[in-house]
Amino acid sequence: MLKLVVCIKQIPRVTELPWDEKTGTLRRDLAAGMMNPACKHALEAALQIKETLSAKITVITMGPPSAEEILREALALGADEAILICDRLLAGSDTFATSLILKEAIQKKCPKFDLILCGAYTADSETAQVGPQLAEELDLPAAAYVEKLEIEGRTLRVRRLVDNFRETLEMEFPALVTISMENYKPRYTGLAGLENAFEENDIAVLDAKSLGFNAASIETKGSRTKVRKVFLRKAPKGNVILQGAASHVVNEFLDKYQRKIGTVIGKSIEEKNLNDKK
């Protein structure tokens, strides 16, 4: 039986962004969460493998207690086992620390994995770094931005589009892939499944201590980067404001920007006939 591990992340729904001004990190405890879209695609890829081959899916996340919600969602969708890494000591980890912590958890709970799947990037911090760094931690062959997976025995074949090259790569298990949003469209969670998943109590919770970390070791082995400041990007440009009758505004706009638009669409846009202007 194939052992699949899917790393997922809860990201804040961005209705409001509660930043901690002092530490420059997001107050994740204050934001309502959702499963990161690319992680959903990674889970879908695992579910599709399980539809054709004998496989067991373990989902794992690190986050505040509320991150349990996305594990329940994953269980409802068909994952078999869920692990929550949750400890205040681990809050504010950068990708270096996160990948280290994930490695410890995977080695503790499912050391005999065949394939680890991650989303290619998260919609909040967008680093796309945790997957490759986890591969490095576990010394695995890996491929990022994977669009299609095929498994034959112990061989994994992946297809992807990187820097305008269409590539087919092969590697042997155990391996790691990060899944792009091109393919593996996520299925929807049935409400019944979700309710069942909330009734069962099968989420393993790991804290820092159980993974062999304490405050001192997290300090030395953990994050390498420090966020000094976070700020909202200001309204970018001194913008041009047009108002008035729609026909007038449209003509003013096209006269002013006909060349710019023409260049982008590769056609020419005429200036307004002078007679019309009077």
């Binding site: 961005v14 919609a123 490759p132 820097d163 990007r233 108002q243 729609a246 026909s247 005429e270």
Partner: protein, 334 residues
């Protein structure tokens, strides 16, 4: 290790296609400016087979030193080989900073390299400065560029960043320039790559998707109703672009889920974005990335979308749309 060696800023020579090569040139240019502040040299790394072209080009564009390994075994890009090579070189030479283009390759390769060198890395930076305390200040976007973070790697070296293409301007070439070119042999005993490249072909054109469309016409609730929303398709067609939608519009059934633009949907980066009747909630704007030129139409002059726009049109979205379609039909010449 001799510590009297001059500090070095390394730029990874990513040259596999035209676009990747330009990023390398942009990074060399920025490294030249940063190097002045911290009294360092700029060193370009070039690994491959028959690479003289790149040695010449990176010298002409500002590198002080080139570390080159020219070997048939490096004919195609290999993350695993490059990792092993740079790991050895970095341990010998102790670079202060390593910059890598945020190409697809760079963003897969740099995280592994940072991990192997046990140092920090920030992703897809849109700015690099030197702080008063001499650190590399890495300015990285998050939430689709709505937020920026200033990041430093205080205690570990090298300081590493991947940098978004187009962030910096390359220095014009000067073929009179010279650099110290170190041609190194391929190290012996490198581990055999475990990832096998079976096939690859240059994809002439990325398949057309909303993510790479150069013109996008987005509509929100302010379009009024489904019929009026459908007219966005006409404008998109005239401009050779795609239609995008906000979440309320998708929920209302005016548009398909696969054109949802925003945090939970597609992330777009068009050259021109038309935004009709969209207020600009962050769930939506988090998907806008770096639209070059935004034209927003909204009744409410206080709408966030208007404030983000290059051209803000205050008016009824559907009304302006109809006039724009009519006027463009008259004016567009093939």
């Amino acid at each position: 290790m001799t510590k009297n060696r001059k500090k070095s800023i390394w730029v990874f020579g990513d040259y596999r296609n035209y676009y990747q090569n330009r990023v390398t040139l942009q990074l060399i240019a920025r490294a030249v400016a940063l190097a002045k502040t911290i009294d360092a040299e700029v060193c370009a790394l070039i690994f491959g087979y028959e690479i003289d072209e790149w040695i010449m080009e990176y010298t002409a564009h500002g590198a002080d030193r080139i570390l080159a390994i020219d070997d048939p075994a490096l004919k195609s890009y290999s993350t695993e080989r490059y990792l092993a090579i740079i790991e050895k070189l970095a341990k010998e030479r102790d670079p202060e900073i390593i910059l890598i283009g945020a190409t697809d390759f760079g963003r897969e390769f740099a995280p592994r390299l940072a991990k192997r060198l046990k140092t920090g890395l920030s992703a897809d930076c849109v700015g690099l400065e030197i702080t008063e305390d001499g650190l590399l200040l890495q300015i990285a976007p998050s939430f689709g560029g709505n937020m920026l973070a200033e990041i430093v790697t205080e205690f570990h070296r090298p300081q590493m960043a991947t940098v978004r293409p187009g962030t910096f301007k390359e220095i014009p070439h000067d073929y009179e320039r010279t650099a110290i070119v170190e041609r190194l042999p391929l190290m012996k005993g490198l581990p055999k790559p475990r990832v096998r490249l079976i096939e690859y072909e240059r994809s002439i054109e990325k398949e057309h998707t909303i993510e790479n469309a150069s013109v996008i016409v987005c509509g929100g609730r302010g379009m009024g109703n489904k019929e009026k929303f459908k007219k966005l398709q006409e404008l998109a067609k005239l401009l050779g672009g795609d239609v995008g939608a906000t979440r309320p519009v998708v929920y209302a059934g005016w548009a398909d889920h696969n054109v949802l633009v925003g945090q939970a949907g597609k992330h777009i980066k068009p050259k021109i974005l038309f935004s009709f009747g969209i207020s600009g909630a962050i769930q939506h704007t988090a998907g806008l990335g770096e639209a070059d030129f935004i034209v927003a139409i909204n009744k409410n002059p206080q709408a966030t979308m208007l404030k983000m726009a290059d051209v803000a049109v205050v008016g009824d979205a559907s009304d302006v749309l109809n006039h724009l379609i009519k006027e463009l039909r008259k004016r567009i010449r093939e």
